[in-house]
Amino acid sequence: MTKNNHNETPVAHFFLICKANPILLERLLQTVRYRGFQVLNMSSNDLENGDTEVNFLVKGQAKLTTLKKSLETIIDVQQCYLTDDKAKLATLLEMGFSNMINPFISNTAQQQAVG
């Protein structure tokens, strides 16, 4: 997990593929907050197949694996990918993490996601 420059709080990136739902983002944010993280940046994109892809960057001291597993238990979440490796995260941030193909997630999953 990498650290941001300001206060050394760990930062990580999530990429989700979800069933589109008006409450989806609110539900994700509630889970992120409850599990002890703060969202630094977030974007979502409705896909042609009716799904929604969501990217967000979080920071927090709590357990990332618990957050990931909690996100996976949400009914609307179909796939959940976590990137917390410092080098990979730096690459993602440099690329601008929204509206992109994450090079660290399998191509098949992303091709399915972006239709």
Partner: protein, 574 residues
């Protein structure tokens, strides 16, 4: 053509619902009208009018927990819905399948601060497993069906369906699918299975740590068979009580903050902890870093988010116990004598712990001693009796001193610890199991939180028995004030309680008050044998506290009030 409200009732009926609990109000009136007409429409659903929406929510919880079926509750928008939330939060923490239907203001008024408008959908995000707001009547049927599926699938939990009034009143022309993802069942892999078996066979001091998930998965019989094959020591959480037959010779009791001394010490001493459907709650582990510190841990749970959440384990298996436990049980059905024998020294050690830490009912206090009272009740009541509890000292005494052979007979608010739980949950249990005795063991603080449900008992002539354990205190808080707040007893005195027997009589419920130990046996006999609702009001010794106790932040082996000083007034144990 039918309207949305009729479709709601039809779909509930198709789901097998024949009893619901609720309270009417403005925005849910179309549903109540449909309920009124349900007999003539040949979809008979009996509605139990509770006297508060929280009572209705908890009655649905009791209905569910005493049977394994889905409980259903109904309320109006705004305060009606917010009153349900406590029961739903309780159901979420204890993994209880409940479907709650709430009315909402008509769609054109939503978001305008309309009369009785509260964003209950927003509130439900934190208190329910899932929630829906149905904005078109065409989605009603599939939404309700999905709600029942989600409530029961994987780790069960409450699902709320918020339905605007105009959606209930509109004619349903077509029905469409909500199209939600379905979860896939995860099975135990062969590698996991082999590793689990190897861990168990290599362990010198294994202990089973059994949580509420075992009964939820419906595999208590397989667990008992596995224990019978291995003859290994086992402990349960509060919610696991009843999963292990009370006659099992190596059952050590409940562990944790108010657990049995032997159970806590066995876990602290074990070298393998086999956690089944349990979640390492802070009331179980005490100081986490010291909990079962010598042990490797094998953890099986259907909820992946519980694995490695608090305790890092050697083998974490995300799998429904309904598939995992029968497979393990079969594997150990034929077990080598040498394998079985290798644990004999450990069995002997645990048996000695049990002997040392067995409960002592010779309390020196002058008044009625609640643990002895509850133990006596446990010995004379029919084995099929359902006991519900409120929250506090009496709740822990029930867990410690009563024997259960099914978790469906011990309904206690575990995760949320909700005062006022016992009485409405008993109502739900009695509706679900009318032929079984149902006893609510209440505290004098807790019972007042849902006392209005005496009206529900009267209206439906439900034979719910109430054993009121009265120390004229908020006893558990008082105990902590004595121990950890230098005896400053802040706002825990309830010496101005009402006359509970008179109060019950106002609802045509008979009752009796006892104050002396000499009255206990006869009073309990009459209580158990009485045909109908009855309140036995027991004034206990206010000095009695719950022992042992693991102080906050301490390790479980550092429990106080254990052993020779057990049952002593607080000043004697320091």
């Amino acid at each position: 053509m039918k309207i949305g409200a009729d479709l709601i009732i039809d779909t509930l009926y198709q789901q097998g619902v024949t009893e619901v609990f609720g309270y009417p109000g403005g925005t849910i009136m179309p549903v109540y009208d449909a309920l009124f007409r349900s007999n003539e429409r040949n979809v008979p659903i009996k509605h139990y009018l509770c006297r508060h929406e929280q009572g209705a929510g908890f009655a649905a919880v009791g209905f569910s927990r005493s049977t394994g079926k889905t409980g259903v509750c109904i309320a109006t928008s705004g305060p009606g819905a917010t009153n349900l939330i406590t029961a739903l939060a309780d159901a979420k923490l204890d993994s209880v399948p409940v479907v709650a239907i709430t009315g909402q203001v008509p769609r054109p008024l939503m978001g305008t601060n309309a009369f009785q408008e509260v964003d209950v959908f927003g509130l439900s995000l934190a208190s329910c497993k899932h929630s829906f707001q149905v904005m078109d009547q065409s989605e009603l049927e599939d939404t309700i069906n999905q709600a029942f599926r989600i409530a029961n699938e994987g780790r069960p939990g409450p699902v709320l369906i918020d339905i605007p009034k105009d959606v209930q009143m509109n004619t349903v022309i077509k029905q469409v699918a909500v199209n939600l993802p379905t979860s896939s069942t995860q099975l135990m892999t062969e590698d996991q299975f082999d590793t689990a078996k190897s861990l168990i066979l290599k362990a010198k001091k294994p202990v089973f740590y059994v949580g509420g998930g075992v009964d939820i998965a419906g595999v208590s019989d397989q667990l008992n068979a596995l224990l019978s094959h291995t003859q290994l020591p086992a402990v349960t959480t509060l919610k696991g009580i009843g999963s292990i037959k009370s006659s099992y010779p190596h059952f050590m009791g409940m562990l944790g903050m108010h657990g049995n001394g032997a159970a806590n010490l066995a876990v602290q001493e074990c070298d393998l902890l086999i956690a089944l459907g349990a979640r390492f709650d802070d009331r179980v582990t005490g100081k986490l870093s010291s909990f079962a510190a010598k042990a490797k841990v094998l953890h099986i749970d259907v909820d992946n988010s519980e694995l490695n959440k608090l305790r890092q384990v050697e083998l974490a298996i995300t799998c429904g116990l309904e598939t995992a436990l029968p497979a393990i049980e079969q594997q150990f059905a034929v077990i080598d004598a040498s394998d079985k024998q290798q644990w004999q020294a450990w069995r002997d050690e645990c048996a000695e712990l049990k002997q040392i830490h067995q409960w002592n009912y010779d309390c020196p206090a002058k008044g009625i001693y609640a643990p002895a009272l509850l133990n006596e009740l446990s010995n004379i009541m029919p084995r099929s009796t359902v006991i519900t509890c409120d929250v506090g000292q009496h709740q822990m005494w029930v867990a410690q001193h009563m024997k259960f052979d099914s978790t469906k007979n011990h309904l206690s608010s575990g995760g949320a610890g909700t005062m006022g739980f016992g009485l409405p949950v008993a109502i739900g249990a009695k509706v679900a199991r009318p032929n079984d005795q149902v006893i609510a063991v209440c505290g004098d603080g807790s019972i007042m939180m849902n006392i209005q449900e005496l009206g529900t008992i009267k209206r439906f002539n439900l034979g719910v028995k109430i054993l009121l354990v009265d120390n004229a205190k908020l006893g558990m808080v008082k105990q902590w004030q004595e121990l950890f707040f230098d005896q400053r007893l802040s706002e825990t005195d309830l010496s101005d309680n009402p006359d509970f027997v008179k109060l019950a009589s106002a609802f045509d419920i008979q009752g009796r008050t006892i104050t002396k130990p000499s009255e206990v046996s006869q009073a309990l006999k009459e209580f158990v044998e009485f045909d109908g609702a009855f309140i036995l009001h027991v004034k206990i010794d206010a000095q009695d506290n719950v022992w042992p106790l693991v102080p906050p932040g301490a390790a479980n082996q550092d429990m106080i009030g254990n052993g020779p000083v057990e049952n002593q007034p607080i000043k004697d144990v320091g």
